[in-house]
Structure formats: structure tokens, C-alpha cells
């Protein structure tokens, strides 16, 4: 009997996101239809563009790399009962700090230089997430508004620093950016690696070794949340803080730890672009990545495996957005409409199902 309901739960956990995505695509299809295009044709064209060739896969993996980390950052906070809408600001601050540290250190081997730069990205994110975490823990201020405010402050602060303090001088480039990082602070691209397996992704493709860091973090977060004491505490506070307190867990400290962990992951979400692709911090490079992380976490049910698949999906959606620009006159923002629709359908679908189960248990 129990086995049966477990299987049903598992099946539902796979089916409900699929159903939600399908529903969102159908709704998006109506939007496309209302613009006078054939949605099936458009979808086929942009999906073919994103997934029909190895070059497209490379871009999808590149997009997914940051999304895995942004999604994990949101999910860890969710598990601890916190809603971190500040991933966007945290990854901007983390990215800038890693670039600045990477540029200011003297010449040294990769094995020392890179870990320091990586750590700086995490520390930047931790500081930015720690402030709302501290305010929540000590003063009970809701983290949602504060993390949003910290986003706006991060936009302004990083913009100020990259325009006035750490801007690369002597170049004509429309957007403010830092100088290029030395090779000892960067990660290699993966074109050659894929070619060993007979997949022809050219070296110019941006997919890089931070993909492995993000996959490693997926496993690490799983281990941390479900196999360690701190993970147990985070989940306990998240599911029932009153019971957790009675069980002897220090709630305030757990909230701060959760936000630190979430912020560290958010900071890491910047490395794909800063350390792996552009090799420099470009003003406002993130373009809403932190917010897509919310969609990834929700669709992935805050579980590392789910987040992996959700990241691949949204990574493909990004690529499809570029396809929209190339092949159609439909603004690529239709993809962000799809994202929002996916969140709503996932959230609603989840609630309906939970209540169906609750009702059945009554009898």
C-alpha cells in the first residue's frame, strides 16, 4: 500500500512539471497564434535551432550551467523556509568580487589562483545574502522585500564600481567592464573535451569547465541537505520552525547559515560568465538569471535532480529565445512569459494534487 503511494508520488513528481511545461507551451502557442503565426511551425523551428545540432547543445549546456547554481541557491533557501529573491544581486556582487580579486593578485599558478577567485565569488554572494538573513534572524524582517532591495542596491553598486573604479581603460567598448582576467584565474572551454567523444562542439562555443563545478555542487547540495546535520536543521526549520525549536535547533543561527549557503551558491552562479566565458566582469551581465533561478527551483521541486532537468529546459528556452530573434519577428520576451506561466501552472498543479491526496486520506 505504502509502496503504491510512493510510486504514485514519484510518477506525479515527474508528470506534473511535464504537464505544466506543456500547458505553458500551449498558452504561449495561443499568444503566437494571436500574432498571426503558426505556433507549431515556430516551435519546430526554434526547437530545431536549439537542439537540432551539437552547437546548439553547447549553448544549452552553457546556459544551464549558471541556471543550475542559481536554481540551487533558491532551492536551498526554500528548503530552509526562506524565499531568496536576491540571487540576482548576490551573483552580481560575487561576480564583481571574483573579478576584482582575480585581477589584483600577483602572478601565481592556477592551482592557487583559481580557488581564491572561486572563493571570492562565494564570499561576495554570502555577504549580499547574509545581510537580509541577519535582519530576518535577529529582527524578524521578511527576507523577500529585503532581498529585492539588495538587488537594486547591487545593480547600482556594481555599476558604480565598474564604471568608476575598476573599469578597463583605453578601450572603446560600449558597456563598462573590467580588464581581462589572467589565464590562471579562468576556466577552459569544453569544445576539445566534447570532440574526444565525437561530439562536434567547436572551441568557440562558450560551454566551459564551470559546467563540472555546477554538477559537483548539485551532488554536494544533495549530500549536504539530506546527509548532514546542518542539512537536517535547515530542512527542519523550513518544514516546521516551531517543532525545530522544540527539538533544540537554534533557529536564528540556522536562518543565517541557510542564507550564507544560498548566497554562496548564488555567487557561484556568476563564474560561468565571469571566469568561464567572458573572463571579465561586464556590467549587468546577468540579465535576470537570478529570477530564472526561482523558476528553476520551483519546477525542479527544490530537489537537485529536478533542478538539473529544469536547468536544461530553461537553458534550452534561452537558446530558443535567440532563435525567435533570428527566425521570427516575435519579440524574444515571449520566453519570459512562458517562464512565468510555467511557475504559475507548477504552483497551482502542486496545490491541487496535494489537496487531492489530503482528501483521499480522510476516508
Amino acid at each position: 500500500m505504502k509502496e503504491d503511494s510512493f510510486m504514485k508520488g514519484l510518477l506525479w513528481n515527474i508528470l506534473s512539471p511535464l504537464f505544466s511545461v506543456l500547458l505553458a507551451l500551449i498558452l504561449g502557442g495561443f499568444v503566437i497564434l494571436s500574432l498571426g503565426y503558426n505556433p507549431i511551425e515556430i516551435y519546430a523551428q526554434v526547437i530545431g535551432f536549439a537542439l537540432g545540432n551539437p552547437i546548439g547543445w553547447g549553448y544549452v549546456l552553457f546556459n544551464s550551467t549558471s541556471l543550475i547554481l542559481a536554481g540551487l541557491a533558491v532551492a536551498v533557501a526554500f528548503k530552509g523556509g526562506l524565499f531568496n529573491i536576491g540571487v540576482e544581486g548576490q551573483l552580481l556582487v560575487g561576480g564583481l568580487l571574483s573579478a576584482v580579486v582575480g585581477l589584483s593578485l600577483p602572478k601565481m599558478p592556477w592551482i592557487i589562483h583559481f580557488p581564491i577567485v572561486l572563493l571570492s565569488a562565494m564570499v561576495g554572494g554570502m555577504i549580499w545574502a547574509g545581510i537580509p538573513g541577519f535582519l530576518k534572524a535577529k529582527l524578524g524582517v521578511h527576507e523577500v522585500i529585503n532581498t529585492i532591495m539588495m538587488n537594486w542596491i547591487a545593480y547600482a553598486l556594481t555599476n558604480y564600481l565598474v564604471v568608476n573604479v575598476v573599469r578597463e581603460t583605453g578601450v572603446v567598448y560600449p558597456l563598462p567592464q573590467t580588464a581581462e582576467l589572467p589565464p590562471s584565474a579562468t576556466l577552459p572551454r569544453l569544445g576539445g573535451f566534447f570532440q574526444k567523444f565525437g561530439i562536434n562542439i567547436p572551441e568557440s562555443n562558450p560551454v566551459n569547465a564551470s559546467l563540472f563545478i555546477s554538477l559537483f555542487m548539485l551532488i554536494l547540495v544533495y549530500y549536504l541537505l539530506w546527509r548532514t546535520k546542518i542539512g537536517y536543521e535547515i530542512r527542519a526549520v523550513g518544514s516546521n520552525s516551531l517543532a525545530a525549536e522544540n527539538g533544540g535547533i537554534n533557529i536564528q543561527r540556522t536562518i543565517i547559515k541557510t542564507m550564507f549557503l544560498s548566497g554562496a551558491l548564488a555567487g557561484l552562479a556568476s563564474i560561468n560568465d565571469v571566469l568561464g566565458y567572458r573572463h571579465r566582469f561586464l556590467d549587468n551581465f546577468s540579465h535576470g538569471l537570478g529570477f530564472t533561478g526561482i523558476a528553476v527551483a520551483l519546477l525542479g521541486k527544490n530537489h537537485p535532480v529536478g533542478i538539473l532537468f529544469a536547468s536544461l529546459l530553461f537553458g534550452a528556452l534561452y537558446r530558443m529565445a535567440i532563435g525567435m530573434d533570428v527566425f521570427t519577428h516575435i519579440p524574444r520576451e515571449i520566453i519570459s512569459i512562458l517562464q512565468a506561466l510555467i511557475i504559475i501552472t507548477v504552483a497551482v498543479g502542486n496545490e491541487i494534487f496535494t489537496r487531492m491526496i489530503m482528501r483521499r486520506r480522510k476516508f
Binding site: I148, M149, N151, A156, Y160, S336, I344, V348
Partner: protein
Amino acid sequence: MISALFSWETIASAIRMATPLAFASLGGVYSERSGVVNIALEGIMLVGAFFAAVFVYFFKNPWFAIFMAGIFGTFLSLIHAIVSINFKVNQIVSGVALNMLATGGTTFLSRLIFKAAGSSPHLEGLAPWSIPGLSSIPGIGKLFLNLSPLIIIMFFTVIFSHFILFKTVFGLRLRSVGENPHAADTLGINVYLYRYIAVLISGFLGGVGGAFLSLEHARVFVETMTVGRGFIALAAMIFGKWTPFGSLGACLLFGLAEAIRMRLEGVGIPTQFIQMIPYILTMLILAGVVGKATAPAADGIPYEKEEL
């Protein structure tokens, strides 16, 4: 410089800046008094700003455009109501999703309709009003000269809302639904209905607040032009202890911060730091500079009607 900062012009501009916030903040008061957190106000304002621009662009009638901004704000809040009241989805998750929908949707439609990336053409706003008598007083009279009619409407809406919420049976019921929905239900008050009405009112007011931004403040629609004002309005509501007059007071404070911010531009302080002022102010206020505020007891908690 100091005298330029603290002048009647600064106060007049503070009132202007406070107006969109006050509409949204008032919307927040209705919604949260009924027990529904509405962080979708940010997106609602954006939708209001956008549709006000669209309707002025096509119909050249600002009053009609402002009304339609309210209607589209109401429509977005209707989704919030359905999702969070009927389906009992976490109200913050729903709000975030709707904010994303609003950002994506308005940018999408703006590119389709205005054909230009980033913003609409210049828009026609309302003809300004001056209050006869008051506007001829030297000094303070400047506050009553060439006012946007929406500013006057805003003040009346605040007074009216105070009356509605605290002096009528309807207001009493609406507040009881936010404090103790079970007790209200026992007394025969339809909890869902009252929450629906409150959330829809918040959508209308938020939409009108957004319309002020595009028609009266900027006279142009710019993508993502709300830049966190919906959240600042919510902070003002908390600062104002969930009351119409308190919220208005807090909004005037934020308006003053923005007015000072605008005056400070070009005096040597980097603009980015001046831009941070309202956000830092919001955080400081929420951190309890003015003492702890207590939300309505059932705020944010979905109501599950007991099945017998």
C-alpha cells in the same frame, strides 16, 4: 544648496513622487487587511503604467487610459486572487510569478505595439489643475498650483479608504477576515468573497498608481519603469502600520527621499549612490527604526474552509 533642497518646490515634487506609491500602498492596505499578501503590486503597477500608455497612445484620452490601467491591474490581481485564495498557492510565489509575467508581458507587448526597443513615444497626460484660492497664497500656494488631478484624487482616496475600512460594516468585516477568518466564517461572513474584493481593489489602485508613473510623471512608458516601487509601497504600508493615513505618511517620506535624490543629482555625489537611497531607506524602515509593526493576524495564511 541646502535652501534649494528644502523649498516648496522640493515638497511639491515629494508629493508628486509619493502619489504612485500611495495608490499602490493603499492597495496593499486593502489586500493585507483581508489577509492576502500582494507582492504582485510591483507587476500590477508596471501593467498599469503600460496599459495607460497604450490607451493614451491609441485613444488620446488620459482619463479613459487611467481607468483602463486600473482595469488591467484588477485583471492581474484577479489571477493572484484565484491562485492564492482558491488554490491556496503560497502568496509570495504567486506574486513573484505575476511580477515576472508583468515584466515579460509588458516588454513583449511594448516591442510589438511601440515598435521601438525600450520605450514608448511621448505621451499626453492630464491637464493640470490649480486649486483656486489656496494656490494664490504666497509660498505654500506653490503646492496647490498645476497639480496633477490624480494627486487630488489620491488624497481623497486615502480619506475615503480610512472611512471605508474603519467606519463601515464592510470595513469591519474585511478586517475581521484578515484577523480571524474562522471567527468571521462562523458569523456568516464569506471569507473568500471579502478577500476577492480586497485583492481586486488593490489591483485597481496599483494599476492607477502605475498610470501616474507613465502618464503624469515620465510622460513615456519605459520598460521595467517601476524599478521596485511596488515593493517600496509595501514597505510604506508596513511602516504605516497597515492604515491608509499611516501609509500615506510613509509614502510622503519616500517621496521626499526621491525628491531630494533628484535634486542631489549633479552635485558631485555619484548618481548610483543617490539611486540607492530609497532602497536603503526601505530596509532601515523595515528593520524597525520606528518600532515593531504588527501585521493582521491571518496575513499571508490561506483560509481553508472546514469541510463537515
